[in-house]
């Protein structure tokens, strides 16, 4: 660092010594110690700067400035804590977390309850299809033994005496679960198909549905879930399969 550089840098040096530890100034100040002429210039520069700073800080400020600013405190309406950004973000995150946990809890709860009121069969079918297509739930019983599945369902007052369609009969099950449709138990039995997709057979007492389908299977599509529905021997069946076609489903009957 030469004298010109030092003078240039030291012009930004505050007179109260606050900048003494700044590495940039330290080098320049070191040069000041070694260069008497530079030291003389710096002393004069500082002497002027001290006075200018002093004068500037003596520039009169309105006598009522501070009292006005303190009065502002009384006038300004502070946002309530729940309106402040930090709280809003935290609250939103909390609510989102709570909703997520609640949804997961509901999905995983046993049995799954669906309030139906005066609902139609179509509503029942679509609700069951939607449930079957959702992965956020678990089976109550995991078992490849259909007999065990039947026994377990019966113990839970669900229709365990269901008649499996020919395409599923003899096929090992994955497991089962009990759902609740307006107070009536629904048996859900899960099978794995050859293409590794799952087929869900949902069975409810026919009396629980005012407009239950006839024995002849009806095809319907609910989102990505294809369904076949029919009634037999006092029970109503819905066979739901993700991505299935009508012919594929009919092939399971």
């Amino acid at each position: 660092m030469n004298r010109d550089e030092a003078t240039y840098i030291l012009r930004a040096y505050r007179v109260d010594g606050q900048d003494a530890n700044d590495p940039q100034f330290r080098k320049a100040l070191e040069l000041v110690r070694l260069d008497p002429e530079l030291a003389r210039w710096f002393a004069e520069e500082q002497a002027v700067d001290i006075r200018v700073a002093h004068k500037l800080r003596a520039f009169p400020v309105p006598s009522d400035l501070k009292s006005q600013l303190l009065a502002v405190r009384k006038i300004v309406t502070l946002p309530a804590w729940w309106q402040r950004r930090g709280w809003q973000v935290a609250a939103a995150a909390g609510v989102a977390l709570l909703v997520t946990i609640s949804v997961l809890f509901i999905r995983l709860a046993t049995p799954a309850d669906f309030a139906c009121g005066q609902s139609s069969f179509a509503q029942y079918r679509d609700t069951m299809a939607d449930f079957a297509g959702n992965k956020l739930w678990r089976l109550d019983l995991n078992s490849p033994d259909v007999k065990e599945v039947r026994r377990w369902l019966t113990q839970k007052d669900a229709p365990g005496d269901l008649q499996l369609p020919a395409g599923l009969d003899g096929r090992p099950s994955v497991g089962c679960r009990v759902l609740n449709w307006g107070g009536k138990k629904v048996a859900l039995v899960c099978f794995e198909l050859a293409n590794h997709e799952k087929a869900h057979l949902l069975v409810i007492d026919r009396d629980a549905l005012s407009d239950a389908p006839a024995e002849s299977p009806q095809f319907a599509q609910t989102g990505k879930i294809a369904t076949l529905s029919w009634s037999r021997d006092g029970k109503t069946y819905v066979l739901a399969c993700k991505g299935g076609t009508q012919s594929e489903l009919l092939g399971l009957l």
Binding site: D4, A12, E45, D49, I50, K55, L56, R84
Partner: protein
């Protein structure tokens, strides 16, 4: 922010903020309004400030941002090219400045173009280091140093004009003189 904090912050920084505001607006009522707006923002948004050490810097920065907002809104501050000044290191007898009061210094400061006046005011108020000033003005550190140096020259030039009838009070030392001394 509780009542005591706010009072303390008003007590510590209000005067310098007002002076800084005056150096920007050159009008007492606007300077007061600018200072008040800054403190209003402290009340409404200061809760985001976690580090008490940054309050001062936050206040000066906020005041400057509010001023820029006003300026953009009014669009009546045409950019003026600075007149060229001789590159010299004018040195005043300290008594020259002693003879002036704060209002005179402020008046001379206000004659300087804003881009030099703003960092120079912040520098003389001693609240912020050149690095903080650079951050506040969103300028490179080198530019701030350059503007401080040029701003000082301009301020002293303005003062020297006021004392033109008594030039013996001002002793300019040109760079050439320093260099000659160096070569001796």
């Amino acid at each position: 922010m509780d009542e005591l904090d706010y009072e303390e912050i008003v007590g510590l920084h209000a005067d310098d903020l007002y002076r800084f505001a005056f150096s920007l607006t050159s009008k007492a009522d606007e300077a007061g309004e600018l200072t008040q707006e800054t403190y209003c923002r402290l009340l409404t948004k200061g809760g985001q400030l976690r580090d008490r050490a940054k309050v001062k810097s936050w206040l000066f920065t906020t005041l400057y941002r509010v001023f820029l907002g006003w300026k953009r809104h009014e669009s009546r501050h045409p950019h003026l090219e600075i007149e060229s000044v001789a590159h010299e290191l004018p040195v005043f007898m300290p008594a020259t400045v002693d003879a002036m009061d704060g209002e005179t210094i402020m008046a001379r400061l206000l004659e300087i173009e804003e881009r030099y006046r703003t960092p120079l005011t912040l520098f003389y108020l001693q609240d912020l280091a050149y690095r903080d000033i650079a951050e506040l003005l969103e300028l490179p550190v080198g530019t701030v140093m350059s503007r401080l140096s040029r701003g000082k020259d301009l301020l002293r030039q303005r003062i020297s004009i006021q004392f033109a009838d008594t030039p013996e009070k001002i002793i300019p030392i040109k760079l050439e003189r320093l260099k000659k001394t160096e070569s001796l």
